[in-house]
Each structure stands twice: as structure tokens, then as C-alpha cells.
């Protein structure tokens, strides 16, 4: 059992490394294939100056050599410095953005899971009654509405109309709306998931067994049903992290939060290769690691999962 688990973890770990390598490679070559370079927009620049600049950042070397150098650097966690923001390393920029984005993302994820499970369970237990119907209508609506529309509506209502929150996400109060917007879709999704899975579980034979043993209604729900109903939610946790990571790019832009999304979009418009590469790799690693952790968690809840 123990060695099986270790083997599985090792296998998953290797798979993770391969995935990350693929992402690095694809990002690198896509970046190279895109026309234009970081110094194109600077008008008064002579051919010589351009060549000098390119030589300074190693952009004049053959492609495969550039790739090899880059890979070597990444392995040493050396992402270089920003081309546009002089004197700042990519690591610094990521750390700076992650302070805000990490906070938003983590709170949004916890909020989504806790309230999603709560509302889903509430709806399932009250199946067919008003509470259930309201929860179903709202969760369906929020699953179907893109986050940029929700952000805009919330911005209009709370920041422009009522002015309860600042429209600029630099302060703590300004982070409330972005967090809420970001968690709305996964919350609604988990609500629907938890409702249907709990309804399914409540109809299972082992629930009848528990009742027939004399277990109280409360304990049947909290001990016997809920743990089983959580399994699909854990499966969704991986994709949810991916959603929150990518979704935060849009949401941060709309609410003016100076987070990773802001840095990435600025990097892309400026053709700041090191920043784009560093951030892409960081976000990819984040998603891959989160998926890895979810898989491990899955086993903790469901003993039937076999490691293969």
C-alpha cells in the first residue's frame, strides 16, 4: 500500500514536470513565431541601436541556442529581468503581483467551495420546495453568465450607482467585488454539482442502511451522505483553480487590481518576453500543482480510488 502510493506520487510528479516542460517549450516557440519584437514601438531607433539592444538581450543568437539558454535558466529558477521595467527581475514582478492575486484567488476558491457545498446541500435537502427552486434558478443564471458581464454590472451598481466600494481595486475594500465576482461562477457550479450529487447519494442503499441502524437524520446527512457527495466537488477543484487563475486576468483588469493579470497584460502589450514567459510558466505550474494536490485529496475522501 505504502510503496504503491509512493510510486503513484512519483509517477504523477514526473508527469507534472513533463507537462511544465511542454508549456515552457510551446510558450517559447509561439512567442518567437509572433511577428514584432520588444523594440518595434520605439520610434526613433536606428538599425544599429536595434541590433545592439537585441544582442544585449540575446535575441540575435540562433533560435535553438536561445531555447537552450532559456531552458537552462528556467531550471535554475532564473527568469531574467524585465526588458521594459528596467532593473526589476521577473521573480520580483511575479512576487509583487502574486501578493494581491494570490490573496484574491485563495479567498475566492475557499468562498466558492464553502458556500457552493452549503447552498447545494441546502437545495438538495429541501428538494422541490421554494428554497431549492430559488437556489436552482440563481445558480443556473450565474453559471451561464460570463464573468466580465457580472463584473460590469456589479461595478455599475456598487461603485458607480451606490458608491459603497471603490471602483479601483488598490485598497482592501476594493478587493471585495473582484473576489465575489471571481467566486460566483465556481460557487454556482459547485452548488449545482453538490445538489445533484447529494440527491443521488441520499437515494443510495447505504443511506437506507444507516437509517435502519437507528442513526439520527442529522448524522445520516453529515456523516453518511455529505462525505460521499463531496467526491465530485473535489474532482472539480482542479478545473476550478484553472478557472480562477485565468478568470482573475479579466476580473483584475475590469476592477483595476494591480495583480498578476495586470502584469501579464502589460507584459504582452509591451512584448516583454521575460515577463510573459515567467508569468505563463508560473501560472501553468500553479494549475498543474493544484491538480496534483486535488488528486491526492481525492484518495483521502474516496478509498476506492486505486493508484495505477
Amino acid at each position: 500500500m505504502g510503496s504503491k502510493l509512493l510510486k503513484y506520487i512519483l509517477k504523477r510528479f514526473i508527469l507534472m514536470i513533463v507537462t511544465i516542460w511542454l508549456i515552457i517549450t510551446i510558450t517559447f516557440f509561439v512567442m518567437q513565431a509572433t511577428p514584432g519584437g520588444p523594440f518595434n514601438s520605439e520610434k526613433a531607433i536606428s538599425e544599429e541601436q536595434m541590433a545592439a539592444m537585441e544582442a544585449k538581450f540575446g535575441l540575435d543568437k540562433p533560435l535553438m541556442q536561445q531555447y537552450g539558454i532559456y531552458l537552462l535558466n528556467v531550471v535554475q529558477l532564473e527568469f531574467g529581468s524585465s526588458i521594459k521595467m528596467r532593473g526589476r527581475t521577473v521573480i520580483e514582478i511575479i512576487g509583487d503581483g502574486f501578493k494581491t492575486s494570490g490573496k484574491i484567488g485563495l479567498i475566492a476558491a475557499v468562498l466558492a467551495i464553502v458556500s457552493g457545498v452549503f447552498f447545494g446541500a441546502l437545495a438538495a435537502v429541501n428538494r422541490g420546495r421554494w428554497g431549492d427552486k430559488i437556489i436552482q434558478v440563481l445558480s443556473t443564471a450565474f453559471v451561464a453568465t460570463p464573468s466580465f458581464i457580472i463584473s460590469t454590472i456589479l461595478l455599475l451598481i456598487f461603485c458607480v450607482q451606490w458608491q459603497v466600494f471603490p471602483a479601483n481595486g488598490q485598497t482592501a475594500a476594493g478587493l471585495i467585488l473582484p473576489i465575489f465576482t471571481l467566486s460566483l461562477y465556481p460557487m454556482a457550479y459547485i452548488t449545482r454539482l453538490e445538489r445533484s450529487s447529494l440527491l443521488d447519494v441520499l437515494g443510495q442503499d447505504y443511506i437506507r442502511t444507516a437509517r435502519a441502524k437507528g442513526v439520527s437524520k442529522k448524522k445520516v446527512l453529515f456523516k453518511h451522505a455529505l462525505k460521499n457527495a463531496l467526491i465530485p466537488v473535489i474532482t472539480y477543484a482542479g478545473p476550478m483553480v484553472a478557472y480562477i487563475v485565468t478568470g482573475s486576468l479579466v476580473v483584475e483588469k475590469i476592477f483595476g487590481v494591480a495583480g498578476l493579470g495586470d502584469k501579464l497584460i502589460n507584459g504582452i502589450t509591451a512584448r516583454d518576453y521575460p515577463v510573459i514567459m515567467g508569468l505563463t510558466i508560473f501560472l501553468a505550474v500553479l494549475i498543474v500543482v493544484a491538480t496534483f494536490i486535488c488528486d491526492m485529496l481525492y484518495k483521502v475522501v474516496d478509498p476506492r480510488i486505486e493508484f495505477k
Partner: protein, 356 residues
């Protein structure tokens, strides 16, 4: 001496398509240490009868009327606390499908200990010891190892043994076995039945054995009730049922046992399809499939004919034979019919007891 008395039990499912009268006036007693068999084809209301006793029906099922008394204490309409102290403690149940009856995310020991700690004041360690002891009792090898395993690590037969261990852990007065072997392989079936008989002898509890396998009835049961469309159509001792069946449905069941075959007498369905409980015929529910159906069978529910203190059947054919033999007169039947109608008119919603 009866420990459980079920009287005129009516249980219905209130579905969108209408009221499904799954149990429609069932009465029986369970005696201390005896085995009562309930036989009937699929859909005749056997499981719903069992679930009604323990009140573990699921929505939209409800006990409409009737009485279930355990040691004289009324359970229908009792508090949640009262019935919870009965479940798993004084009346236990095991189900048809052991593959799905245990919670997949808890160990066997956890589920056993839960039942034990609910109904006794044993602490965790004592409950653990008891769990191991019970697993040993039901013939599971290496109980110390098994107790820490999850259900998916056990075979179907083993899981049914675990269910039996769980049901018997608190030494119930009555064990309800709802087709406990139907989902198992033939060889495992025999082992489980043997185990149940052995435990019944050792522990002395009463068993309600629900089955559609007449072989099981013949080998285990003292008394038998035959159910059809939510009603008891015949009741008697095992000998009564096998050697002098009176109801046409019972006769059909017994005739359908394949003679001379090495296999146990599995029920071969009688011609025609089981009754549609949403649209019960006005007369005898079996009449559309009965070879001997008379005009009266189609439009008047049969009255009960008592053949001995232990044996009765509700079948017009047997009434007809009794009249022919001169055991009863036409007037008596008429009278009975009138009183039967009166009883049916006011009893279902009174929750009253059937006049025996």
C-alpha cells in the same frame, strides 16, 4: 407468544401518477424465536411492508393507516426517538444487495461500531472488540484485519456477512431479511442461509424472511404469508402452505416449482404480468391471471376463509368449495360480505384494528 403485531397496515406512495397502494391491509404476528416467511413475486409489497415496520420508507411513501406493535407498544405515529431506539436495536434489517448496502467511504469496523455505540453504552474500545467478535461470529476470517478494511475490499458474500454482523450486534428480537440471498451466487446463497439458521438457533431471535424462493421458505420457515398486490392472500404454517394450499395464487406458486431438478425451487412466474397497483381491479387482484376465476372474483373482493386457527385464505374458489361441502351457508357468506364492506368503509382512516 407474539412480539410483533402488524394489523391492517396500509402504506402508499403518493406519486404524480396517483396513489400507489403498495401495502393494502396486511396483518400478521411474529412469534418469539420463530421464522415467518413472506413470499410473493416482485412488486407484491414485501419490501414496503418491511420498511413500514421500521419506518424507513422514502418520499413519497407513507403509512396511511394500521398498527405495528412491538411488545404491545404502538410504533405507528410514535416519536422519531422511539423508532430510532427500535431500529438496529430491537428490530434489525438486512437488504437484498450487499454490494450497495454498506457506505463505501467508511471502514467495516467504523460502520459496525456506529451501530454498537448507538444502542449500547460501550465505549470505543469495547465497541471495537464487539465488532471483531461479531465478524468472527458470522464466519469472516481474520476479523482483526477485516475490521479495518473498506467494503470495496470484500466480496459480495462477505459484505452480506458484515450486514448480518451489523444487524445482530445489538442482539435484536427480530431480524428482517429482505431477500438476503437474491443478489448472491448460488453457492454463496446456501452459505448465507446456513449461517442465518445457525445464528437463529444460537441467538434465538425471530426472523422475518422475505423471499420469492420457495426453497428458502421450505427449509427455514415456521409460518408463511403469501402476498399478492399488497394483500395477504393466504397465511398458514409451512405445512399448510406446501401440503394444502388454498388460494389459487399459492397453488400456482407451488406448481411452478420445477420438480426433479437439482436446483432449488426458484419461482417461475405464473402466466400474465403482475398486477398494476395504480389500477387495482375491483374484485380479487389475482383474478385477471387466475385460471379458475368466476364472475364474483372479477367484481367483489374475496372474503377470508378460515381453515384452521393457523390457516386462512382469501379466495372465492375456496369459499365456493366450502359452500359445496356445506361448511358454510350462502347466508353466512352474505353476512360476512356485508360486515366486510362495513369494515372496509370505515377502517382505513380510523387506524383501527381488524376484528380477528
Amino acid at each position: 407468544m407474539s412480539i410483533l403485531e402488524v394489523r391492517d397496515l396500509h402504506t402508499s406512495f403518493f406519486t404524480k401518477a396517483g396513489e400507489v397502494k403498495a401495502v393494502n391491509g396486511v396483518s400478521f404476528d411474529v412469534d418469539r424465536g420463530k421464522v415467518l416467511g413472506i413470499v410473493g413475486e416482485s412488486g407484491s409489497g414485501k419490501s414496503v411492508t418491511a420498511y413500514s415496520i421500521l419506518q424507513i420508507l422514502t418520499y413519497p411513501g407513507k403509512i396511511v393507516s394500521g398498527s405495528v406493535k412491538l411488545h404491545g407498544e404502538e410504533l405507528v405515529g410514535c416519536s422519531e426517538d422511539t423508532i430510532r431506539k427500535v431500529r438496529g436495536n430491537r428490530i434489525s434489517i438486512i437488504f437484498q444487495d450487499p454490494m450497495t448496502s454498506l457506505n463505501p467511504v467508511y471502514t467495516v469496523g467504523n460502520q459496525l461500531m456506529e451501530a454498537i455505540m448507538l444502542h449500547t453504552d460501550r465505549d470505543k474500545d469495547e465497541a471495537f472488540d464487539r465488532a471483531v467478535e461479531m465478524l468472527d461470529l458470522v464466519g469472516i476470517n481474520e476479523p482483526h484485519k477485516r475490521v479495518k478494511q473498506y467494503p470495496y475490499e470484500l466480496s459480495g458474500g462477505m459484505r452480506q456477512r458484515v450486514m448480518i454482523a451489523m444487524a445482530l450486534a445489538c442482539e435484536p428480537d427480530i431480524l428482517i431479511a429482505d431477500e438476503p440471498t437474491t443478489a448472491l451466487d448460488v453457492t454463496i446463497q446456501a452459505q448465507i442461509l446456513e449461517l442465518m439458521q445457525k445464528l437463529q438457533r444460537e441467538l434465538g431471535m425471530a426472523i422475518i424472511m422475505i423471499t420469492h424462493d420457495l426453497g428458502v421458505i421450505a427449509s427455514m420457515c415456521d409460518d408463511v404469508i403469501v402476498m399478492y398486490a399488497g394483500k395477504v392472500c393466504e397465511k398458514g404454517t409451512a405445512d399448510d402452505i406446501f401440503y394444502s394450499p388454498k388460494h389459487e395464487y399459492t397453488k400456482g406458486l407451488i406448481k411452478s416449482i420445477p420438480y426433479g431438478s437439482k436446483k432449488k425451487g426458484k419461482l417461475i412466474p405464473i402466466a400474465g404480468s403482475p398486477v398494476d397497483v395504480l389500477n387495482l381491479p375491483s374484485g380479487c387482484a389475482f383474478s385477471p391471471r387466475c385460471n379458475c376465476a368466476m364472475k364474483v372474483c372479477l367484481d367483489t373482493p374475496p372474503i377470508r376463509n378460515n381453515f384452521s386457527p393457523t390457516h386462512y385464505a382469501s379466495c372465492w374458489q375456496s369459499t365456493y368449495e366450502a359452500i359445496k361441502k356445506g361448511d358454510v351457508t350462502l347466508e353466512q357468506v352474505q353476512e360476512e360480505l356485508n360486515s366486510e364492506e362495513c369494515r372496509q368503509a370505515d377502517s382505513p382512516f380510523e387506524g383501527g384494528e381488524a376484528d380477528e
